[in-house]
Symmetry: C2
Subunit: 173 residues, 2 copies
DNA sequence: CTGAAATTCTAGCACTGCTAGACAGGCGGT
DNA sequence: ACCGCCTGTCTAGCAGTGCTAGAATTTCAG
């Protein structure tokens, strides 16, 4: 998808239908025969992002299979944060731009479920409230990602925050 | 500020310079003699939002002064989440729209510092890594707010997530 | 070779943020 | 009273946006 490259290179605000059309060497209206509108284009990019993120999280988890819970959780969290930092445009399309993606409904894309499941599987199987914990973990990582991407939280201290998050999200004991 | 009312009533995408000019019964260019551009307008609204949020957090804290740490923390968190839900446009201006607000620099507005301090004061004074904890708490609440505002996380289960967050963010013991 | 179907294009609409230059009004100084 | 000036406001317009109608072109079956 050319839209993704363009957005990753210059940001979403630089992705206009005209520039994208020029990039793919067609004229503007052909975009609208393939996609319903600009929203559909970013939604398609977001979808790609979810499969990619799901894959990253999954490998982070399987690579630490059998290790102690702290390490496994840390590996998954770091994979998530790295993804957000290295592919900011993709991340935005997935999580901050207004799109109509069913997140918790019937039509939730499988890639999306897979990504969430990877989160849950990073938590000990016996953890109480495992699903809610995974949601909270996701929310915290998302908050860290967006706030630091916009310099609303100091970059310095990221390691400490991650430590605290891992300690806090694991069931006590 | 009329911009705020308009945005709160119809969302930021409905706030155009023309509509705003019509609202204040002036013509478009006078906006540009008061503000440098549209960004400056949303920044001004965001600034208002920070003083309001700081006030809310502060009263939530003082209202629970002397109570047990869990209750104090919960009161502040709930105040934050309520603010995000009840004033979504204001919240967006403060935290998701791209603005040039110094967050952790010299020119950080006092309202902003006040809001953050309110967070920190909601944590026990003796808590280790108090500042990092406050940052993490903020990030988690922000993640919860944005993800549930865009239906990316189920509204159901919010109470459970808040419980887990409070348990997790307080130092163990 | 012809007519229809599909595909791509040109041209344009209504809108956006923003700005240049014209126009008015009130000010003090002569 | 008159002049020049400054301040504030306006009209008109620019370049750009997402999106679409209808013309033009190509493709291909009969």
């Amino acid at each position: 998808m050319a839209a993704r490259e363009l957005a990753e290179a210059e940001g979403w605000e630089a992705l206009t239908t005209r520039r994208l059309a020029e990039r793919v060497e067609y004229s503007q209206p052909v975009l609208y025969s393939h996609f319903k509108g600009k929203d559909a284009i970013v939604a398609a990019v977001a979808q790609e992002g979810f499969t990619e993120l799901a894959k990253l999280l999954r490998t982070a988890r399987t690579a630490t299979d059998g290790q102690e819970p702290r390490r496994r959780l840390r590996a998954v969290c770091q994979a998530y944060l790295r993804f957000a930092v290295e592919r900011p445009a993709l991340y935005q399309a997935m999580f901050v731009l207004p799109t109509r993606l069913e997140f918790a409904g019937e039509e939730t894309p499988t890639a999306l479920r897979a990504a969430f499941d990877a989160f849950m599987e990073a938590l000990p199987e016996a953890a109480p409230e495992r699903e809610a914990r995974a949601e909270l973990l996701w929310a915290a990582l998302h908050g860290i990602s967006t706030l630091s991407a916009t310099d609303r939280i100091p970059a310095q201290g990221g390691a400490t925050r991650l430590d605290l998050l891992i300690e806090g999200i694991l069931p006590r004991g």
